[in-house]
Amino acid sequence: MSTAADDQFYREYILDHYKNPRNFGRLENPDISHEEDNPLCGDVIGMDFRVKDGVIEDIRFHGRGCAISQASASLLTERLKGLPLEQAKKIGKADVLGELGIEISPARIKCALLSLKVLKVGAYGLAAGEEDEE
């Protein structure tokens, strides 16, 4: 029997981000605020951005979901903080999945990419759905 620490999917850092999410909460008067849900399971993630001189000065995420969607959002906010918005727009699926560092099954891919969808639709100003064609 494996121990929690060497679980190939629920790795320690994933569980850590799930239990102690970074940048969790809301910002007052954000410059950008956007929320998306996963229609398959009803999970929700929202992000608030404070942007100054084109740079993401501060960021918070909120919502509820599984370990994968929450850890993915937490990791993404860490990466986004201090990043110029133009660079943030260039973050893609491969970046997010790479950061998670685990094998994601087709059944869980929407969980892993929900936070990226929030970023794309919110910060990029895309209409919902367009990011799927990327």
Partner: protein, 404 residues
Amino acid sequence: MIKTFDVATIRKDFPIFETGIAYLDSANTSQRPRQVTGAMMEYFEKYNSNIHRAAYRIAEEATVRYEATREKVRELINAASTKEIVYTRGTTEAINLVAYSWGRKHIQKGDLIVLTVIEHHSNIVPWQILAAEKGATIEYVDIDERGELRQDQFHKLLERSPKLVAFGQVSNALGTINPAIEMVAAAKAAGATVLVDGAQGAPHQGVDVRALGCDFYAFSGHKMLGPTGAGILYGRRELLEAMDPFMSGGDMIKTVRLEGTTYHDLPWKFEAGTQAIAEVIGLGAAVDYLSELGMEAVRSHEREITEYAYEALSDIEGLTVYGPPPSRRAGVISFSLKGIHPHDLATIADRDQVCLRAGHHCAMPLMTRLGVAATARASFYIYSQKDEVDRLVGSIKEAQRIFK
């Protein structure tokens, strides 16, 4: 002929269990025995042809076998005539058929439609579309703390003379067995037309549509050992007679002239185009299988396994079971675990070959009502055994260890 109910013997008819899975998702779709797949294969290999058309022998056999399912279904649900048994793709199509063919004729501006918060989306969305189109109003009966429909509220709504009342015999998400006979009687007394969604009822509780007294009853073959793509709409004959077709085209007509068309008799008026012949024949074999076991035995086995699972799950710390006590529920247990999302539990269970549903179970209004985004759900059928429940408990413990 009624067989003795023996799970070990039953499981031998289901080759899929040789893969070692613990299958706890029968409310979603059931497994199918060799008798069903065999009947379909026999059609493909021995008498594959189209029905109601050709004059040659194998086409006659296909037609006879296709129509034979109608009589089997009629007997199973005790309808008065095979004219009242319409083949559909499943429950969803059956309800859409009623919403389209009956609803568009009878629902008018200002009419009231009564539904409940525990309905499957397929018994909400078609009515929402109809209500929006016609300017009708929908009211939903709420549930109490035990996950049972608020009968006081239901009776209050009936005082407003709804045109249509539609509800599920059994809730797919909570397993609540609704007092369908009493509800239908009250709704009929209030002058409403009544549709009962039997998707979770027909396979498990069985039904006698004449005793139930509803106008329409919809269910799916794939939740009762049959293949996907074949389901049933039962409708009272005089209602079906007065309804216009749903789909139109080949096979549903008597004569077609350029000036106009006369429709076929019941039930073929509602069966346009080439039908799901193999699937309907498979459904017939599924009905045979259930009839041989007897619905009473099916129910009693499900009660036993559900009680066992309810006890086993209730003993787990941090686990919340939703819905009524086992005596008032069908073979469905929805639950949540403190600190562990249902999707994560399902992923961990999957690694132990335990098939568990996680999500909103196509009942988002109910999830909202319960204040959760999703639940985990274990559901049972004739082949479910205690060992599968024990394996689920093992997966839950493993999830708790990982997430501790």
